[in-house]
């Protein structure tokens, strides 16, 4: 053998690159996720009593619930692509550590979900007539913090449910409890920012999200290989 196999991080980028290139080529998952998000936002608008609730009060929840559903949809397809032609075996055969497989999928999923959130945000601003008022950097920060957390766990569960029956239902059932802390934090902070409150007031939530992220990214990374330890 002439050259050594790539390390975990390099291999992760190779895998993430492969996923993103696949996705850019077909774009079906991205388009579906965005359309799905837009539809939910529209339905939110019609599923409320226009006289009782002002749009601004509903807005942060609507946005984050939309992102949550779109993310679950995205995550459920993350490992599905590996099942056609048994490509997952190909990844398991490669001389790279299992952690690289997790990191690669995690990065690919993270980019995907962040892109969906990024496209949903302007739609949300449009439909709910929200004025961002300089809250944008704060919202972006909390969006990244929240997304990292549940995408990490979602990647593990996506691999797990890919080979289980009823996986379209199993993934949400397993993952949604894990979305409570990130979503609660994200919604609270978004609401506070949209109300013009300074971001430092939300420091408690941001700290919680950070600890959550560190805990679950680490735990997911460590536990992922157990899924393939046959």
């Amino acid at each position: 053998m002439s050259s050594p196999p790539p390390g975990a991080l390099t291999a992760a980028f190779i895998i993430a690159g492969k996923d993103l290139r696949s996705e850019l080529r077909r774009r079906t998952a991205l388009v579906s996720a965005v359309v799905f998000a837009a539809l939910i936002l529209v339905i939110f608008n019609f599923a409320r009593d226009p006289t009782s609730l002002r749009a601004e009060q509903l807005a942060p929840s609507a946005f984050w619930i939309t992102c949550a559903f779109a993310a679950v949809m995205a995550l459920s397809r993350a490992f599905a692509v590996e099942l056609e032609h048994g490509a997952l075996d190909g990844l398991l055969l490669a001389p790279v550590p299992r952690e690289a497989l997790f990191l690669g999928k995690f990065l690919g999923n993270l980019v995907f979900v962040l892109v969906v959130e990024g496209i949903t945000l302007p739609l949300f601003v449009l439909f709910f007539n929200v004025s961002l008022r300089g809250a944008l950097p704060g919202i972006m920060l909390v969006a990244v913090l929240a997304t990292v957390g549940f995408v990490a766990v979602g990647t593990v569960f996506s691999a797990l449910t890919a080979r289980v029956r009823f996986n379209e239902l199993m993934l949400p059932v397993l993952l949604l409890p894990f979305m409570l802390p990130p979503l609660a934090g994200a919604a609270q902070v978004t609401a506070a920012l949209l109300n013009g409150r300074p971001i430092l007031e939300s420091a408690g939530w941001l700290r919680l999200l950070l600890v959550y992220d560190i805990t679950f990214v680490t735990l997911s990374l460590l536990i992922f290989p157990a899924l393939f330890d046959e």
């Binding site: 050594p4 492969k18 490669a94």
Partner: protein, 225 residues
């Protein structure tokens, strides 16, 4: 258990001793011993369900044996050690290709995962050797079963492995395609490459294999000529 050994004095490439593997309470491999010399091709045969695929996956480092050890070039092959898989190529039931990428891109991806220099050239050369260069820009979706098998073979040989494992490679191929595959297997023999073909169609493997082993009741039984 009779240990099947090569007849000539080539150095030993692969040595498996006492391989056992159960799934839950069902014992599939009860103690397999196997020796493969460098440059040798052997066939492993047996009825459906006897454990041929399981044996191959253990040899490839995909499945952990309940007991026993696999040594490739004297170094252990372990599921926990990714580097131990670097010299193994597997052609399994499924092609392990992505429909959303072209053949060229598929092979480049594999080349990168193995850390090969100049992945593009390696991929092209590999496609050329299996006579698929003309289809390099096509997706696996557009290929017939025979062509997919050739692409899968290219994938398995891309990183110049020392050991090539083939799981029922002739399944689903018509006579012409099977003949092409056999010719490719016979022709492309880098020095020292050891090959194990698992098949229940003995006549397909007879002209390429120098030894045939029978897997019975979880271990290597008789040694057929």
């Amino acid at each position: 258990m009779p240990v099947s050994s090569p007849s000539d004095r080539e150095p030993i490439l692969l040595q498996a001793t006492g391989l056992r593997r159960s799934f839950g309470e069902r014992v599939v491999l009860t103690g397999v011993d196997l020796i493969l010399a460098e440059g040798e091709t052997i066939a492993v045969t047996g009825p459906n369900g006897v454990g041929k695929t399981t044996l191959l996956r253990v040899l490839a480092g995909l499945l952990r044996p309940s007991a026993g050890e696999v040594l490739l070039d004297g170094r252990p092959v372990r599921t926990a050690d990714p580097r131990s898989r670097a010299a193994i190529g597997l052609l399994s039931h499924r092609a392990m290709l992505y429909d959303d990428l072209t053949l060229q891109e598929n092979l480049e991806f594999v080349a990168r995962l193995h850390g090969l220099r100049d992945p593009r050239k390696v991929a092209r050369d590999s496609l050329e050797q299996v006579e698929l260069l003309a289809r390099a820009g096509d997706s696996p979706r557009t290929l017939s079963r025979g062509l997919i098998q050739r692409a899968a073979l290219a994938r398995a040989l891309l990183h110049a492995p020392r050991l090539l494992l083939l799981d029922e490679p002739f399944t689903g191929l018509d006579r012409a395609a099977a003949g092409r595959l056999r010719a490719l297997l016979a022709a492309r023999r880098p020095a020292g490459l050891g090959t194990i073909i698992v098949t229940h169609q003995l006549d397909e493997a007879r002209d390429i294999a120098s030894r045939v082993l029978a897997l019975q009741a979880g271990s290597i039984g008789s040694v057929a000529a």
